[in-house]
């Protein structure tokens, strides 16, 4: 008699936010094998970038890959193109770019934490965090003119400047969020639903994180010190007060903690940027057409995002390759699932913060 049972999770499931399919092979309650499929929202964006749109228009195309990470996609592509053009982006534009990326990270981490709370059955906390997230969303709307699709980054700089009104509003809202995050930390440490229930659940060891190429908060929760912000010099992260946050246990609890302390670090960075924003132009006209190859990495909220572009001096690029953080982490996801209880699977999946729009693109 067969001892195992196969349970599909997805592509449409009540606990899933986006279409992904996992097939769990379970023995009683334990998951012993997992397979995954991620291509449900494929839109052919890489192909469209190389055939339909000229290189100046692509920042607006790649921003539409994902609503949550819109700014990181357009920024990563823009940096890759700027490598192949003549001219230098001003320091002020770089600072403003960091400001937007970090605001994006704050609201993305808050979204993930709210979903982890929801999967723990803590609906009130979900509402609370989503309500507080509006403070960041309103800041983004104020700076860029739009809530989700920012269209803020252009080749050569940024599209809008911030004035004293916006600066004071940023500081005011960030002070409120900081206090809220301290409250969340207390909740996530002491509340039974959120902490004790999730300690030692969905664990990934440091060796496994190395072996299976874990990135982003998933890797940092295991103690793996990997963060593009400290490894790449495209953006002056060291000057604005970046700090690596790592934990050692690698379970859901530690992933939550990494995200919470990263929010605090991002708030600190945003405050530093607003206080010490250098003067200068926000936009520099860059000349020429991309000729050659360029590869750029950027730390998105979920981990390392990579763009490779190849141009041959024409308006249309030869190739645009996008490697997204969730796609790179899938082997590590599968490893975490093995040996866990099936009942914990939705909560473990929420703690990974998967982004399927990015992955399937």
């Amino acid at each position: 008699m067969k001892k195992t049972i196969t349970i599909p999770l997805g592509s449409q499931h009540i606990s899933l936010l986006e279409p992904v399919k996992f097939r769990f092979v379970c023995e009683n309650e334990k998951i012993i094998d997992v397979s995954s499929d991620v291509g449900f929202v494929h839109r052919g964006i890489e192909r469209a970038c190389a055939t339909k749109f000229t290189f100046e228009k692509i920042p607006y195309v790649v921003a539409r890959i994902c609503g949550l990470c819109a700014i990181t996609h357009s920024l990563c592509y823009t940096q890759a193109v700027e490598n192949l053009l003549d001219g230098e982006v001003s320091l002020k534009a770089k600072y403003l770019r960091i400001l937007l990326v970090e605001l994006d990270r704050i609201h993305s981490h808050m979204l993930c934490l709210s979903h982890v709370s929801e999967n723990a059955g803590f609906e009130a906390m979900f509402m609370q965090i989503m309500g507080d997230r509006e403070y960041v969303m309103s800041l983004q709307e104020m700076i860029t003119g739009n809530r989700v699709q920012f269209d803020y980054i252009s080749i050569g700089g940024v599209n809008r400047d911030i004035d004293t009104n916006i600066s004071s509003q940023i500081k005011k809202n960030l002070t409120i969020i900081k206090q809220k995050v301290y409250d969340y930390i207390e909740q996530f440490e002491n509340n039974w639903s959120l902490s004790l229930k999730y300690k030692n659940i969905g664990k990934l060891s440091l060796d496994m994180a190395y072996q299976y190429n874990a990135i982003g908060p998933l890797a940092r929760a295991c103690g793996l010190e990997t963060d593009v912000r400290s490894e790449s010099a495209y953006l002056p992260y060291v000057d604005v007060g970046y700090k690596m946050i790592t934990r050692s246990n690698g379970d859901i609890y530690d992933r939550n903690m990494v995200r919470l302390y990263e929010i605090l670090n991002s708030i600190q960075m945003c405050e530093n940027i607003v206080d010490g924003l250098p003067s200068g132009e926000i936009y520099t006209k860059l000349k020429g057409k991309p000729n050659g190859e360029s590869l750029v990495r950027l730390e998105a909220p979920r981990g390392e995002l990579m763009y490779y572009i190849k141009g041959s001096g024409k308006p249309l690029l030869d190739r645009v390759r996008i490697k997204t953080p969730t796609f790179s982490s899938i082997p590590a996801f599968i490893e975490v699932f093995k040996g866990s209880d099936y009942g914990d699977a939705p909560a473990i999946l929420a703690s990974f913060d998967p982004c399927m729009s990015c992955t399937a693109k």
């Binding site: 749109f53 100046e56 228009k57 607006y60 195309v61 009130a124 609370q128 309500g131 509006e134 309103s138 709307e141 104020m142 003119g145 739009n146 699709q149 269209d151 252009s154 599209n159 809008r160 009104n165 409250d183 207390e186 909740q187 002491n190 509340n191």
Partner: protein
């Protein structure tokens, strides 16, 4: 635990965070990205906005009744599709006479519903234009 109980009581007495739309209007932030506006008499017909637009929501097509603007030597007519527009302001930045010939207003577009078939005529024009170029 203590703080969450206090928060729960505060939530009981406080107003909802969400806006009671459409009963109360949405407050637009300063610099809201709305419809692109065009002033034909100021236009110099350089066609830079058409080239810059990422979703190709601005088209200049030949017309039988051209305007009396002397710069319009090729008898062109400006067409704009608010349903394709992503309000990125790229056309305004490309325009040599921004805020006179082309500018971004804070006006919201009307909602496009299925029955209106808002894009069908537009795609016909696009195809015709592509045919012209060929």
């Amino acid at each position: 635990m203590k703080s969450s109980i206090i928060q729960a009581f505060k939530n009981l007495l406080s107003k909802p965070i969400t806006i009671d739309y459409p009963a109360s209007p949405i407050i637009k932030p300063f610099g809201y990205r709305g419809l692109i506006k065009y002033e034909e008499t100021e236009c110099i017909y350089c066609l830079k906005c058409e080239k810059a637009c990422p979703p190709e929501a601005i088209l200049f097509v030949k017309t039988d009744n051209p305007s009396s603007n002397e710069k319009n030597k090729k008898s062109l007519e400006y067409l704009y599709n608010p349903y394709l527009c992503i309000y990125c302001q790229e056309c305004v930045r490309a325009c040599p006479k921004p805020s006179l010939a082309l500018w971004q207003s804070e006006e919201k577009p009307s909602s496009g519903i299925m029955e209106d078939k808002v894009n069908e005529k537009w795609f016909e024009i696009e195809n015709l234009k592509r045919g012209d170029k060929l």
